[in-house]
């Protein structure tokens, strides 16, 4: 293992300061939640931190607190706790379901919400240390290489897919992200938190090096809300989404008042489907409409040489998830 120093800040301010101090000494600092993904990257020398900023020692960052009709969720809550939390399960089911599909129990027992949202890509070129765009190089190897798991939307110049399960759920819930940095705190709407490669190829989100995702704010969930997270894996467990769908419907009896549909596994960011959402607004979701939603979901998809199957998979997944949700009691 690379040599590094672990620091245990007691407050977010201390955490931010530690990062800054490392910077002034010409050192790199990495934030650590659960650490599973981080250690994997360090062991492969994909990232080479000199200092670890262990956020687990900051008290109070892992709570689920009702607030203003909605809920604040601390960024350091473990995925296991998040998935089991009664309030989250009942009112923000999509988030609970997303949390419990991540990896395995052992990872969920330490992995955090913030860590999952900020997870680096699982593209095999990136993780095998190829000199790709995400590793500071000049090319995306997937384009003329092995790309069966890569993006069909939003790709270019890098074609990674965002690996998080909770991220699409949070975007679908219109969450706001609480970002803490040297100049204090700011709230970033989930949909603006993630960046496409064409905006900033080196990062997947807007966090600066000295900022921490401290928590998320979930708006109130109305009485007619139903939500679910549907994940397609290419094994029965552990792997990241081949394609996934986070769907939130606000129902008025049989009518869908409004919908939020966000896909995982298809784009470098959680991929919202606004055209499908408007198509469903005010409608009864029949099998025909659900099928049409599926078709619309893939309009504009751009296949690479080996990932074309994701198009039909996405179509089917959107259609099925809508129907499951509307027929669910």
């Amino acid at each position: 293992m690379k040599t590094f120093a672990n620091t245990n800040p007691q407050t977010l301010e201390q955490a931010v300061k530690t990062i800054q101090q490392a910077g002034t000494k010409g050192q790199t600092a990495s934030l650590v939640g659960g650490g599973s993904d981080l250690l994997g990257l360090v062991k492969e020398f994909i990232i080479k931190p000199d200092v670890l900023v262990n956020l687990k020692t900051i008290k109070g960052l892992d709570q689920v607190t009702p607030a203003a009709g909605g809920v604040n969720v601390g960024g350091l809550i473990t995925l296991d706790s998040l998935g089991r939390h009664p309030l989250v399960r009942s009112q923000y089911t999509v988030l609970a379901e997303a949390a419990e599909t991540v990896a395995t129990p052992q990872i969920r027992n330490v992995g955090t919400l913030a860590g999952n949202v900020c997870q680096r890509p699982w593209c095999w070129y990136f993780r095998n240390g190829f000199p790709c765009l995400k590793n500071g190089g000049e090319t995306c190897f997937s384009v003329i290489g092995e790309n069966r798991f890569h993006a069909i939307f939003g790709g270019g110049p890098s074609y990674i897919v965002h690996p998080s399960d909770t991220a699409p759920a949070l975007v679908a819930l219109d969450a706001k992200f609480r970002v803490v940095g040297p100049s204090g705190e700011r709230m970033v709407p989930a949909a603006e938190f993630f960046v496409l490669p064409k905006q900033d190829v080196a990062h997947e989100n807007v966090l600066a090096a000295d900022e921490v995702l401290a928590g998320v704010q979930l708006p109130p969930a109305g009485p007619g809300r139903r939500s679910t997270y549907n994940k397609v894996l290419d094994r029965e467990a552990w792997t990241h989404a081949v394609v996934s769908a986070a769907v939130v419907l606000d129902m008025d009896n049989e009518i869908c008042r409004s919908a939020r549909i966000v896909l995982g596994g298809v784009a470098p960011i959680p991929w919202r489907l606004p055209k499908v959402e408007s198509m469903l607004a005010g409608q009864r979701i029949t099998p025909e409409l659900a099928a049409k939603a599926g078709e619309t979901a893939v309009v504009g998809a751009q296949k690479l040489s080996k990932n074309g199957y994701k198009v039909s998979m996405t179509k089917a997944l959107v259609r099925r998830t809508l129907l499951t949700l509307t027929t669910r009691a």
Partner: protein
């Protein structure tokens, strides 16, 4: 890059019968006999490497120890506490062989740093048996032939232990889901699930831990500060079955 060819070693390892060690000129100082300064540092932290003093409880016994920040929990348990029951299968959190209980929850000890275990409780497979009695899970694993090669077994046990503590009466599917983070390449999955189901139905049965082994079943307690210098961990005992 220097063009000069460096003496990698003056000992030449050559192909051919008997010649492998024939050319044995005086080995340079670097490869000379070990001096006290060269003793392997698994005995303690290396100078100049960031380290932290921590306190943790392992299998019910408290330890205070200085750990290098870069040590994983698996490394601390295996190399410094001599608790080699926890295995390293991949060191990447992709197989589960290193599963231990951290504050009662199954985690990959290879994917957690030792320094993060400060103030916490760890239970390893060595801590499952109590007062010479096997845990019902261990007994069930024996009776239902859970282990084939046995390398994943410690991890499977700890995941199962974590499950039954939280959910004493799981369904077979719940067992599979709870243990899906533990790979068994021998693929003895059916038998593991059977064993866990059996243990969940017979929580009180646990035979005295004697039988075929000379090995002790007491909870392992190794004080890191008194780690036996260079003691082999039963490397030379014969595999005698009694």
């Amino acid at each position: 890059m220097s063009k000069r060819k460096h003496d990698i070693s003056r000992r030449q390892f050559l192909e051919g019968s008997g010649a492998a060690f024939a050319v044995a000129t005086v080995a340079p100082a670097l490869a000379g006999p070990l001096s006290a300064a060269d003793l392997p540092v698994t005995e303690g932290v290396s100078p100049g490497v960031p380290s932290t003093a921590i306190r943790l409880v392992v299998n019910g016994a408290e330890h205070r120890i200085e750990v290098e920040d870069r040590w994983t929990l698996a490394e601390l348990l295996r190399d410094h506490f001599g608790l080699t029951g926890t295995k390293i299968g991949c060191d990447r959190g992709e197989c589960g062989a290193c599963t231990v209980l951290l504050d009662g929850k199954p985690v990959y000890s290879c994917s957690n740093l030792a320094v993060w275990a400060d103030g916490r409780e760890v239970q390893t497979v060595e801590g499952l048996a109590h007062d010479g009695h096997l845990d019902p899970l261990q007994q069930a694993f024996i009776e239902h032939d859970g282990p084939q090669c046995g390398f994943c077994t410690s991890g499977q046990l700890m995941s199962a232990k974590g499950l039954l503590t939280r959910n004493p009466h799981p369904s077979p599917h719940e067992v599979q889901a709870a243990m899906t983070g533990n790979i068994c390449r021998c693929s003895n999955y059916n038998h593991y699930v059977e064993a866990v189901m059996a243990a969940s139905k017979n929580p009180k049965t646990s035979k005295r831990a004697s039988g075929h082994s000379t090995a002790s079943n007491a909870a392992a307690e190794v004080s890191a500060t008194k780690r036996r210098r260079g003691a082999s961990t039963s490397a030379s005992t014969e595999g005698g079955a009694r």
